[in-house]
Amino acid sequence: MKTNNLKAEETQQEKEIWEPRIIGFLCNWCTYAGADLAGSSRLKYPPNIRVVRVPCSGRVNPQLIIKAFERGFDGVLVSGCHPGDCHYSKGNYFARRRIMLLKQMLEYMGIEPERFHFDWISAAEGQKFAEVVEQFTEQVRKAGPFKGVGAR
């Protein structure tokens, strides 16, 4: 019925080769640089994540995450600087409130909690970035293909 809901139209064959589709909103100053470091250090992590670089985790409007699920992503990762390290000094504190509320609401709206992950990852933590992506991808893989928000 709906074109943007890729998951609902999957054939059996496609399901067998299903790979989680994950979108990551990463803060420019910390996590994005951390991801860069993971790359330049040639660390291995699953290629399932599509990265969107945002100026600050405080820029992550809940609507972006809601939209990602509406469009049928299997998982969403949000990550920014550790508390106290924000480039704009307090963006991540605002993010923290919003994300906590969103987390509860996502679950209430029927998105399994395994499909959403939030973490603090600094520019020096290339290793941590690779691990978080690895673990999260596994977690989403276990949760299985997301059937879409319109699935009844």
Binding site: I66, K67, E70, R96, L101, G150, R152
Partner: protein, 311 residues
């Protein structure tokens, strides 16, 4: 209340009095805007005064000082409007009514509507007078669901109070409706919401009636259609309602207007109440109580806020 409205207009202290007037039938009221002192007698106050009139306040205050007739629950949206700098406290005169509860129209299902003469409060509920006599509808049936869990004895903000404070005995929990949903598995809840939102025709009545939705330009009206499509489908509806809920976080005062006006009977309060509950539990905030507090999502508490990583 009429007398006060008249005085306010006569002295020129306010330009307009926003209140309730007789609707198209005895069991309905309609919002009225009174600008002449001699019209003050048109104001009414009875169980049919259901609307939350504060949705008109922002525009009215732009024209000058305004007076408004409110129920205790509605008064909380004035607090929110002040809190978010949408109106100035000095620009409004609050005529606060004491309120036993407002009519749930469904309660009239078994009554011949053409016959209704008047709708009045009664000590055991609401009394409906018809040609055939008087029928008393008991409280649980007569009142809107928000009234059954109402804890407001009187208005939290007022310039002038009318009527005695009400002794409240809520007969149900305000979270009764969401508990059932909370117990479901995420997948079941998703299916539940998909079933509800499949019916939404996106008339945006729920948004237009909400005193907390005051943006001049709403994301739903953006012509680029990136956020929500013009056409309706379950996904866009889901997106719209989820986003709107996040937008009203910390400012929804649970007046129930969005649910009341929905032509498709979508249980929007089940979304709002959950949001209110989470905001209260996580940040210790209750919308509509403190005009001085910074906006819930526009602030943070270093020590008390929960951390999404430490769970």
């Amino acid at each position: 209340m009429r007398q006060k409205a008249k005085e306010l207009l006569e002295s020129g202290e306010v330009k307009v009095v926003i209140g309730y007037g007789q609707g198209s039938a005895p069991f309905k009221s309609t919002p009225i805007f009174i600008e002449k002192p001699e019209d003050a007698h048109k104001l009414i106050w009875n169980p049919t005064c259901v609307n939350n009139l504060t949705v008109y306040l922002r525009d009215a205050c732009r024209q000058g000082k305004a007076a408004i007739v409110v129920k205790p629950c509605d008064a909380r949206s004035i607090i929110e409007l002040i809190r978010e700098n949408q109106i100035e406290r000095d620009d409004v005169v609050i005529l606060a009514m004491s309120c036993p509860g407002v009519l749930n129209l469904d309660a009239l299902a078994e009554i011949d509507l053409a016959d209704v003469k008047s709708v009045e409060w009664h000590q055991n509920g609401i009394a409906i007078k018809t040609n055939a006599g008087e029928t008393i509808i008991p409280s649980e049936k007569a009142f809107a669901s928000k009234c059954l869990s109402c804890e407001l004895a009187e208005s939290p903000i007022a310039d002038e109070k009318f009527g005695e404070p009400i002794e409240r005995h809520p007969i149900r929990s305000k979270y009764a409706d969401i508990e059932e949903l909370e117990k479901m598995l995420p997948e079941e809840r998703r299916a539940y919401w998909a079933r509800q939102f499949a019916r939404c025709i996106r008339c945006y009545a729920c948004r237009s009636v909400c005193p907390g939705c005051y943006c001049k330009e709403c994301f739903t009206d953006k012509p680029c259609q990136l956020w929500v499509l013009r056409s309706t489908d379950v996904e866009s509806n889901w997106f719209f309602h989820f986003s709107r809920a996040m937008h009203t976080a910390g400012r929804c005062i649970a007046c129930g207007e969005c649910e009341r006006v929905c032509p498709m009977g979508i249980p929007l309060m089940r979304l709002n109440q959950k949001m209110r509950k989470e905001v209260r539990e996580m940040f210790g905030e209750e919308a509509g109580t403190n005009p001085e507090a910074p906006p819930t999502l526009g602030t943070f508490d270093l020590k008390k806020d929960p951390d999404p990583c430490s769970e």
